[in-house]
């Protein structure tokens, strides 16, 4: 089947989708957007968290067909989304966001060599920057899902208490950090957004 949907602000079309494929599979394997992770594929770990019409969901539990005509935001679109929020723009219009071609250059293709990139100079959202600065990233496999969840929480609740943060992120498992520095990162992002702490 064919699925038409909006991913990170751009209209997209996925062809030859088998009906049993999840949104996660289509994003990772057909759209070239592997940022959303596949740690459990049963809705328990949150590493595949994306926003579906603004609502955080486990994309492994969303059938690809259910994404028809819906708006998806993945970790690859967080920076653009944050920029858009700052400018007060309309993200769903496609005026902002990351194009697929742009995103696909990240595709992990060993045929293109194993040379590295550091991502230096990449535009980041406040919550992405805070995760780096606070040491909230170790192996990083949970990071994309946590970032999407944390970004959504901060959008709805710019001054969260620790209990609020814990509640909002309780669907995202992390095995490396013990969560302390993830809490630090979200607090830092909130403080920076409020202008009480500078970058």
């Amino acid at each position: 089947m064919r699925v038409n949907f909006t991913v990170n602000g751009r209209r997209q079309e996925a062809d030859d989708v088998w009906e049993g494929e999840s949104l996660l599979y289509v994003l990772r394997e057909r759209m070239g957007l592997p940022g959303s992770k596949n740690a459990c594929e049963q809705g328990e770990c949150g590493s595949c968290t994306v926003r579906l019409d603004g609502v955080p969901v486990c994309s492994c539990l969303v059938a690809a067909g259910q994404a028809q005509d819906r708006d998806i935001v993945t970790v690859e679109g967080l920076a653009a989304l944050a920029a858009c929020r700052t400018e007060g723009g309309d993200c769903a219009s496609g005026a902002c966001g990351t194009g697929l071609d742009e995103a696909r250059q990240w595709r992990a293709d060993p045929a293109r060599g194993t040379d590295s990139q550091t991502g230096e100079g990449t535009e980041l959202s406040p919550v992405q920057q805070a995760f780096i600065d606070a040491g909230a990233v170790q192996c990083g496999f949970c990071t994309p899902g946590l970032l999407v969840a944390a970004d959504e929480m901060l959008e709805a609740n710019p001054s969260p208490s620790d209990a609020d943060i814990r509640e909002a992120l309780s669907g995202n498992l992390c095995r490396c950090t013990g969560y302390e520095k993830i809490l630090d990162a979200v607090r830092l992002a909130a403080a920076r957004q409020e202008g009480t702490v500078s970058r």
Partner: protein, 794 residues
Amino acid sequence: MTATGVPGHLTQGSATRGGIGESTLRPDGTLKVTGEFAYASDMWHEDMLWGHTLRSPHAHARIVSVDTGEALAQAGVYAVLTHDDLPAEVKNYGLEIQDTPALAHGRVRHHGEPVALVAADHPETARRAAAKIKVVYEELPLVTDEASATAPGAPLLHEGRDDHHAAHTPHPNIVHRQPIVHGDVAAGRARADVVVTGEYVFGMQDQAFLGPESGLAVPAEDGGVDLYVATQWLHADLRQIAPVLGLPEEKVRMTLSGVGGAFGGREDLSMQIHACLLALRTGKPVKMVYNRFESFFGHVHRHPAKLHYEHGATRDGKLTHLVCRIVLDGGAYASSSPAVVGNAASLGAGPYVIDNVEIETLALYTNNPPCGAMRGFGAVQACFAYEAQMDKLAAALGMDPVELRQLNAMEQGSVLPTGQSVDSPAPVAELLRRVKARPLPPERQWESAGGPADVRALPGGLSNTTHGEGVVRGVGYAVGIKNVGFSEGFDDYSTARVRLQVAGGEPVAVVHTAMAEVGQGGITVHAQIARTELGVSQVTIHPADTQVGSAGSTSASRQTYVTGGAVKHACEAVREKVLERGRAKLGTYHPAWATAELLLEGGKVVTDGGEVLASLAEVLGDEVVDLELEWRHRPTEPFDLRTGQGNGHVQYSFAAHRAVVEVDTELGLVKVVELACAQDVGKALNPLSVVGQIQGGSTQGLGVAVMEEIVVDPATAKVRNPSFTDYLIPTILDTPTIPVDVLELADDHAPYGLRGVGEAPTLSSTPAVLAAIRAATGLELNRTPVRPEHLTGS
């Protein structure tokens, strides 16, 4: 693919910033927060196929027949492989003992053992085809514990085994046995005023790294294969993979892809050989990605253990003796069981001075899931038991449990039961003092002035099971000792290649090692070491691969010590070359070239007095200094097979915890309110990363205290909970504040005085939580994890 380099804001400025001791940020951080970082499961190749593994539904069975015809006939299926398709004489692999078939041969020994492989053009096609492989099994009697493994006529897991442990084990179903005899236990017992004994049970814990086992094998024109994979030790993988493929090692080129955590679970091979076999058979790139269900069968687990302990003490609290027996269940294949036995035995007495000790430790072969490396590696199980014993002894003596520990705490110069002297700081008493001195978190934090209880701060949380009624608090302490590095005479070396050149007028260093960055931050530290040693700002970390010598395993808290040591060593040699060239080229212009102690700083050669002699650009011009060197720590010795005596370890790591818990005694729910840790790290090369390691390790210890256990049905030896629905790991709601107190008492034998960090906090966390639950409930609780029924008696 692999992240390299450092963020720009860290490399600016003429002074050499970002050296050791600073909390520089991860060079791969930006890639990881944007979703660009390429983990093994993200690998992609034009025309690639998907591999899938058919696994045994039985724990012990004879394979009567395998019919792959129908599977192979499915549209989109390119290959179906069984044991008969293995191309080489060598059909088995293993870290130490080559007892594990690449694909089962006539018999399966555990639930989930790989039997056949499928490659297809879509992962679902491969899964469905695998389901069409017809395997006829005939079930065999099971061996599931010590009694059944050593009973007369017990089925042998590996008949005719001829490994180097076979001759000294008392039974062929015992992988390895290590006794330790030190002093005179009878004499010690005679002096004891109080003797306490206990039987303890440690459940099977899973590493539960989030990035599933994955990789991509690409067949090459020379008949070899390029493998991109998430692992802990590229060269150990290579040594095991190449013979089974029938290829020389140089035709199996391995590159580390992004690793989503490891914790010991990637020491053994998983899909490496399988993906290569499928790629070589089909001539196409093959990607394999386990889902979580398969991941629970795809790697070894932490050994479950049964531990018997007897401690004696004089009336004033001095330990008189220890007798203990530790039985580890190694499951169907050896994996790293022998080394786990060595650790559990040699560290079985804990960080205490005990003159009279008898320890017996062994690992079994059973039909349970194979067990091997997990963070803490044998020392974890022992710590759970000896720390429970310390509390029991303190209660029997009417002493404060922390004082009893401090009274018997080892210190620098103390002798272990192996006869080895602890020749670096061992601040056991001080670590306990620090966690105890911390103010306790306020009680009844769920109460708000006048308002309703905030159930989020209570056991049961948003399940709204209590508003504070039936909730009691307890506080518990524990301390542990972990060895750092590979022990027992292992040649535990690492290799680093360091290149220094001037590009665009700026000096740039490239550090190339085969170290597996699994999230611990080794690449961050390597760049810091290079900046400190070479005085350059720009350091690039080359992707880890097998084009450079072995770095050893990212295990045993060893990489900062050993590969960090190798990077330091190579940098020092590069620096000497640079100075040699400087003397030859510029020596006549300034006498200090010959007379002064010279350093590299801020891209310049300077004297120890701070005088600048030349820039690196002036010294090197177009020349490149490029050296690859091995580095070794002090050698260790094997333990004597009868007495366990020997200088087996190279370094120790100590951590202490205080746990504060609140328990809903009616429902048996536990909330850990705070888990404070104090640890000596020798020297914190990157303080931010050190604290992150301690908090993460502490949390894994908390997990196995209150929730984590792979449940194996004793009647069938089948895993009953292979999913994150049924195998629970701590969420952010289950994990408390973890305040960390870092000591830096240098170990003069180690690079920069550093001490391996990653594992020690996983040891003492579990017994501290258990002690706190015991203190809250008054229950004995001799097994971990504690489940609600253990607290309610229901």
